[in-house]
């Protein structure tokens, strides 16, 4: 076999074309083939030179994404806000001026003042503290939901997209089944009947908020599964997968190491969307009384308490809601920024 060593000009061209066209998720098949250790070009010299070219490319791809993300001031600001909220949620006792259940009987249902910036509720508890503790629970549940839904959705989508055929059919029918049912209603049903109390499975006790998280995750994974499946379906036929298979890579390796990294963009973007939706849905559930049950505070149930007390004390309804809006906005902006950063083919804003 006569293999021609790439001339110096060619390697240079490889690098040049990379930097000229920018990042993008399209990698030439040859480069991908060479990127698989032990696979691809039999010519060691060619493999080495290609690999080093690819490495330079890999670095620049994420660097480009980072640069593009930080150009969106709104997304960056949102990240700061979200980080701040997360810190507060992580250490509520440190930030809350009072305990979540401390009652100040002299100040029942008081309007916001310096001492109680968010006012007090019907039992005289400082509302700011209640909101902070509620923030912790709501945020934690939302993250849990996003994580679980992503794991489930990615797994199902990957399997369906990679193997195709019967597996794909079955999994997609299953997904359709979930999708046919009106979301919130099913959630309510599930939450009402399943999530009302903590359940114990042997030595492990699943707390009630976690139950809600599980139920939510179970309905949120479908969108992600579709997206991941789409990516897998389109990439499965590409040459680099064939090359990997030819060099003996197992299915699992191909899925995880080769195709999955290409999904990271859409997955991350969808994950942020799930966090935002989870916050809103959990709040709705808690508001209706089916979500996180008292005495655990959650933003939605706080609003419910406020509502029950009559609409005269507007602060009881307003502040938790504002916090929800803030979180949802921030997460949406971040998701938007991420989408612009990871998908360079989209139109860039002026």
């Amino acid at each position: 076999m006569t293999e021609r060593l790439p001339r110096a000009g060619e390697i240079h061209e490889q690098r040049d074309s990379v930097s000229l066209t920018g990042a993008g998720t399209v990698v030439s098949p040859q480069a991908q083939a060479a990127a698989i250790p032990g696979g691809g070009a039999t010519d060691v010299g060619a493999a080495l030179s290609y690999e080093s070219g690819v490495e330079a490319k890999a670095r620049s791809q994420w660097a480009y994404a980072r640069i593009r993300f930080f150009r969106h001031r709104l997304a960056v600001a949102s990240m700061v806000v979200l980080l701040a909220l997360a810190v507060v949620a992580a250490f509520p006792a440190f930030f809350a001026p009072f305990g979540s259940n401390d009652q100040d009987l002299l100040n029942i249902a008081a309007k916001p003042t310096w001492e109680h910036p968010f006012g007090t509720d019907l039992l005289g508890r400082d509302y700011l503290s209640r909101v902070i503790f509620g923030l912790q629970v709501s945020l934690a549940v939302a993250m849990l939901v996003a994580l679980l839904a992503t794991l489930i959705g990615t797994a199902i989508g990957a399997l369906a997209g990679y193997y195709g055929g019967i597996i794909d059919n079955l999994l997609m029918r299953f997904t359709d089944l979930i999708l046919t049912l009106p979301g919130l209603a099913v959630l309510l049903t599930a939450a009402a009947f399943l999530g009302a109390e903590s359940k114990s499975l042997g030595p492990i006790t699943i707390s009630q908020p976690v139950m809600i998280g599980l139920i939510l995750a179970f309905l949120f994974w479908t969108g992600l599964a579709r997206i991941v499946r789409g990516v897998f379906l389109s990439l499965r036929e590409k040459e680099f997968v064939e090359a990997a298979r030819a060099s003996g890579a197992s299915d699992r390796r191909i899925i995880v190491r080769h195709i999955l990294p290409n999904c990271v963009g859409p997955i991350v973007v969808t994950m942020t969307l799930i966090v935002a939706t989870a916050i809103l849905v959990e709040a709705a559930l808690s508001f209706l009384g089916f979500g996180i049950q008292p005495p655990t505070p959650a933003l939605g149930s706080l609003i419910n308490e406020g509502n029950v007390g009559g609409l005269g004390s507007w602060w009881l309804v307003t502040f938790p809601g504002l916090v929800i809006v803030l979180i949802a906005l921030a997460v949406n902006f971040i998701g938007d920024g991420l989408r612009d950063a990871l998908d360079p083919t989209q139109r860039v804003r002026a």
């Binding site: 049912l181 009106p182 209603a185 009402a192 709040a283 709705a284 939605g300 507007w314 809601g321």
Partner: protein
């Protein structure tokens, strides 16, 4: 085309059955409908016994399911567990109210969103575009129920200060609303706030989508060809760009219908509207699987029908997708 529709319908029926079975089992296992009664000291043993017999509560779940299916198909969904109240008339009544709400909200939302989306796309990066985008972001981030509450707070305070009732939802089906303009005004007064609240999320979603779709189309090659033919800009925008941009939106709208009914649940609870949402929540609180199942089946059917409508409409609008 006809075979396609029939195939879809048959498939949907299978899905419906499968879903109903799963939900029924799940609902029955996790809940004892007479538990509520058993806790009442005034309920006699005899009553409980009657109910248990009537609803076959002592038999295996699968058998119960079969009875339920029989009831659902031939007996108008049967009756509630407690009180033996026929389900269908109630369901019909509340469905009427909810449909008024949902249809009004959707139609208005679509009109508004299409206009906003198209205009934003045509005048990209202008003040209008930026404010529309901001509004969309806010709309998507605001919890529906909270918005409803805030609006109520606002209007309650207006009532308290000015003694003027602008919007209220009591007596939705009590007083005869009259015909013609009186009907419209009456409905507007009763349903105004809930419609606005429902619209917000829809307008936000649809307008963003419309804008993105329109932008993509405007930069496409065939729009360039249309311009190269010397067509007036208006014709290019309407006949070539808009028609194509509308197609994916149709699908989104139809698919959104399922989510709408869910949103209606929350909105109706907040506004105490006598609609499907409130009905559902109440029955859920009571823990009675029969009306809950009936509700879910009806809603699921709606969703399936609307999905089908979405696909057919898509095929009508986009000749590349005709099903033969």
């Amino acid at each position: 085309m006809l075979t396609y529709v029939i195939r879809r319908l048959l498939y949907s029926i299978v899905v419906l059955f499968a879903a109903s079975f799963i939900i029924f089992v799940f609902v029955s296992y996790s809940n004892d409908p007479v538990a509520f009664l058993k806790m009442q000291p005034t309920a006699s043993e005899q009553t409980i016994q009657n109910i248990t017999e009537r609803k076959h509560l002592d038999e295996p779940v699968v058998v119960q399911y079969v009875y339920w299916v029989k009831d659902a198909l031939f007996n108008q969904f049967g009756t509630t567990t407690i009180g033996d109240r026929p389900i269908l008339p109630d369901l019909q009544r509340v469905m009427g109210h909810t449909l008024q709400l949902v249809i009004a909200a959707e139609l208005l939302a679509i009109l508004l969103a299409v206009f906003i989306g198209v205009y934003s796309a045509l005048r990209q990066y202008t003040a209008f575009d930026y404010s529309a985008t901001t509004f969309s972001f806010l709309g998507l981030a605001t919890p529906v129920f909270w918005l409803g509450l805030m609006l109520q707070v606002l209007f309650v305070n207006i009532y308290l200060w000015f003694d003027v009732r602008i919007f209220y939802t009591a007596n939705l089906s009590g007083i005869d609303p009259g015909t013609g303009i009186h009907f419209v005004l009456d409905r507007a007064q009763h349903l105004g706030l809930p419609v606005i609240v429902l619209m917000v999320a829809s307008v936000a979603t649809y307008s963003r989508f419309m804008r993105a779709s329109m932008l993509e189309v405007i930069n496409s090659d065939y729009v360039r060809t249309a311009r190269a033919k010397g067509l007036p800009e208006r014709s290019v925008t309407m006949r070539h760009a808009f028609r194509n941009a509308l197609i994916p939106l149709v699908t989104i709208i139809a698919l959104n219908f399922g989510a709408l009914l869910g949103g209606a649940v929350v909105t109706e609870t907040v506004f105490a509207l006598d609609g499907m949402g409130l009905y559902f929540v109440r029955q859920l609180e009571l823990g009675d699987p029969y009306p809950v199942m009936a509700w879910l089946m009806v809603t699921a059917t709606f969703v399936i029908i609307f999905n089908l409508i979405a696909d057919i409409a898509y095929g009508y609008l986009d000749p590349r997708v005709r099903y033969d």
